[in-house]
Amino acid sequence: MGDTLSIMLTNMLPKATAATKQSKRNRIIKDFKLNKSLYLLVLPVLLYYFIFCYGPMYGAVIAFKNFKPALGILGSPWVGLKYFKEFFSSMYLTRIVGNTLTISFASLLFGFPVPIIFALLLNEIKSKRFSRITQIITYLPHFISLVVICSLIRTFVASNGIIVYLLSLFGINPTNLLGVESAFVPIYVISGIWQEFGWGSIIYLSALTAIDLSLYEAATIDGAGRWKQTIYITLPSIAPTIMIMLILRMGGLMNVGYEKIILLYSSAIYKTADVISTYVYRKGLLEFNWSFSTAVGLFNSVVNFLLLISANLLSKKLSEYSLW
């Protein structure tokens, strides 16, 4: 009995894998027949991503070649890690990586909590009308173009500008702050906060409205004041939102907004203002060091990606919140 059974099984097994392969192929064919028009419909979208997103990813291979436009990507000779080595031994390495990290962390440290705190405070405003008006007004800077924002900054921190004037009341000598190395990071971070604190609070506000009100009622009955309620109910309830936003932020850590920096910096303050992305832009598009700047850019992208993954993993281990 056992023998026949085992013979039966051993005979069935290879057929089983063949059968699953066959059924998988059948599923694919069946799905294609069923959804043919759907796949046709999404073809332009796939083409777009293929050409403009995955195309450049393939193009990044020129970081390992000595790319000459005349020879094209395939025709240019391989040089391996030459440009990476050049970058890591460059005297500017510590400067630009340091600035990237400084600006990123400063933005994170000072900029990340502001929308959250603003949302919490806004949530305490009783008058719906006042709250609404405040929201509408504080969302506005988000929609003003970066060019205009930077020109506002330039005007206000010029030697005859308001900010400089106000600072002079505190005894600080009037001078164009965009020429002062140590002033760049504060200017960058504070203007960023000004522009985004209103708009950034929307996500947290919507998370706050989703909190079950009966939790607050129960807490009041137990005698908890508003402050305790905030710590024990409000914050834990919006913690998932905060974590997700934080993880997403980590993934962009090395991608410091180069557009804004390009509009504000000058060679006088490269020491504190030059970051990886602006370096890539200058080396590549202004000095035509194609391969070198691609290598630096690739380094940037990879580090970003690793940061995102580790932030996600860390969050998974320490709490239950993660992106995937």
Partner: protein, 294 residues
């Protein structure tokens, strides 16, 4: 009912003051620009400090701005990019969102993964530039909206919104013999007008404010969009085009330069400022949809 203790009352008081302060901080820069743009140039140049009203009154700056041909060209190009761009954006995003929101599609999750991956990793600026160049799009206005046809974040928001359309509608249409294209055009899209409005606004603002891709791809000044013209004027202090025709002496040039800059800011931001109060409701909706489900 929250107990109105002294502590609570103090908090409410300071919170209100704080909100008013936030409003002032947000509005003041634009007010300053507005006042300065209609101020008399000679009074403005020597003034330091906070402006609570215009200094004198002069519309000279606006006259110069309106007469500047580059501003008109900038507006033209931006509008071309705006409309052309929106058509492509909405079409592509709708196709993608429709596909990703359907059920029983074998490759859907794989494709979704591949698309989302592009949000976290890219080839970099230089390969992107070379790609666009190799397609001969550089130095054309098409470089400003074809390579950025789909914003993945917007795609996800729209997909989330389409997922809430009841399955029965799609199924009954299928029974009636409708193909996917008809379902999309005659059922799904008409029901999704709110989210499409959000898409139009999100993509629209993006096109209006964009300048970087224009800077790296365009060499022909006649093709410059508004923000790039602004950059010349505001960041590079290049108001030469606007001096032609005005009766300004050497010293006056610097003064009127200042007021011209302020006027230019107002003229270029005016559309956004005027439409904003009416449209902000839609923007907020978009973020909510994306946040709650994305």
């Amino acid at each position: 009912m929250i107990k109105m203790t002294l502590g609570r009352r103090t908090f409410v008081f300071f919170n209100t003051i704080f909100m008013l302060l936030m409003i002032v901080i947000t509005l003041y820069p634009m007010l300053h620009v507005l006042f300065a743009s209609v101020s008399s140039p000679s009074l403005l140049i020597s003034y330091r400090g906070i402006m609570l009203k215009p200094l004198g009154f002069s519309t000279e700056a606006y006259k110069a701005v309106v007469q500047n041909p580059m501003i008109g060209i900038g507006y033209q190009n931006t509008l071309f990019v705006l409309f052309g761009g929106l058509i492509i954006n909405i079409t592509m995003t709708s196709l993608g969102a429709y596909f990703l929101s359907r059920q029983n599609v074998l490759w859907k999750n794989t494709i979704m993964g591949l698309i989302v991956f592009t949000m976290f990793f890219s080839g970099g600026l230089i390969p992107f530039y070379l790609t666009v160049k190799s397609l001969n799009l550089d130095n054309t206005l098409f470089a400003l909206f074809v390579p950025t046809a789909i914003n993945t974040y917007n795609l996800i928001i729209m997909r989330t919104s389409l997922q809430s359309i009841p399955l029965e509608l799609e199924e009954s249409a299928k029974i009636d013999g409708a193909g996917h294209m008809r379902i999309l055009l005659q059922i799904v899209l008409p029901l999704s007008m709110p989210i499409i409005a959000v898409m139009v606004l999100y993509y629209g603002v993006g096109h209006w404010n964009a300048w970087f891709n224009a800077m790296i791809f365009l060499r022909n000044r006649e093709l410059f969009p508004l923000q790039l013209i602004l950059r010349e004027i505001l960041i590079f202090n290049n108001t030469n085009d606007m001096m032609v025709g005005t009766n300004t002496g050497a010293g006056d040039v610097e003064m009127i330069s200042e007021t011209i800059k302020y006027a230019v800011i107002i003229v270029s931001t005016l559309p956004i400022l005027m439409l904003y109060p009416f449209l902000q409701r839609f923007f907020v909706k978009g973020v909510m949809i994306g946040a709650l489900k994305g």
